[in-house]
Symmetry: C2
Subunit: 191 residues, 2 copies
């Protein structure tokens, strides 16, 4: 139970977390000094809120994991038709992951504070894929866990290329279409 932060403290907090993502996504080993500068804050202020560098990264990962969960939720993954949900969730995740690349990488590290959240999310992903399989969107004998990993890998790959910006490489909906299509049918000839 920490008592509520004052309004300005809350603002500093956000500035720091956003700056941390910005700076660390470019250079994961950047110093807290650089983060502080990007946040428009003194380095000591960071240390007041976060006991250590690790604590900052954990908080960042936790916040990003929550964002990601919301992004998935808003695609109604367990009520909408599987194919629709899959597409929508993919587009939403792309948007979120683009903005929180570093944080979400951290969240996937076993030791991380947000790791449990990510595992839970993966579980929900498998459930969605299960519904997809039941409705014939996936092959009846599809390995759901492998399919999930492929799905994740495709998303990760799409984020990478995102560094450059061609028109069709930037739009999350176009990309999502490509990803889902590849996930379902691959690159081989269509029957």
């Amino acid at each position: 139970m920490t008592r509520p932060l004052r309004a300005d403290a809350e603002r500093s907090m956000r500035s720091i977390l956003e700056a941390a993502e910005r700076v660390l996504s470019v250079q994961p080993t950047a110093s807290l000094e650089q983060v502080a500068e990007a946040a428009g804050v003194a380095r000591t202020t960071i240390h007041r809120r976060f006991a250590s560098r690790q604590a900052l990264v954990d908080a960042l990962a936790l916040a990003a994991a929550a964002q990601l969960r919301d992004a998935v939720d808003s695609a109604h993954p367990d009520t909408a038709p599987p194919l629709v949900a899959l597409h929508q969730a993919t587009a939403n995740v792309l948007r979120t992951k683009r903005s929180w690349r570093f944080a979400l990488e951290q969240a996937d590290i076993p030791g991380s504070a947000a790791f449990a959240d990510q595992v839970a999310l993966a579980q929900r992903c498998v459930e969605l894929l299960g519904r997809a399989r039941d409705q014939g969107v996936l092959a009846a004998d599809a390995d759901l866990e492998w399919t999930r990993r492929v799905f994740y890998a495709l998303i990760g790959e799409a984020i990478h290329g995102h560094t450059f910006d061609a028109a069709d490489e930037t739009d999350p909906d176009l990309l999502a279409g490509r990803i889902v299509d590849t996930l379902l049918h691959g690159a081989g000839p269509r029957a």
Copy 2:
């Protein structure tokens, strides 16, 4: 032109590079002290061969990139039937990438000394995919560059899971089959 190394120096060299891969793949920020210990060598010996930490990493990446090139070459990617070459190259690359995970990650970083090699290799990959397309293994309208990226992503994903060891997760040939199958047909129902 550096004159040839003495036999024992050559051995030290190999020990250092192998130890570096072993240690840095577990902890990329590990100190040269730890690398030296793992190599059974004094830290100063490392500094004699490699002017800086970066020089060591570059040499490591260069060696690994060469290994990877050989692994691809031995699959005869531009003479064997595309599907066969694809499978064989995948299996070989999996074996190599498993042993040189850290080094090959470094090689893919734009600033790296081995980056040019990796770009050239990607080019050859696209050529193989082009042959595959011409022979109907890939769809006639397949985007070769996107296909290559998907291919790479699948391989990367397969390497990840490799941390744990179930029987079918460890065998490169089984994995290669799964990867190529997924690349060509995805997870959807087969016509």
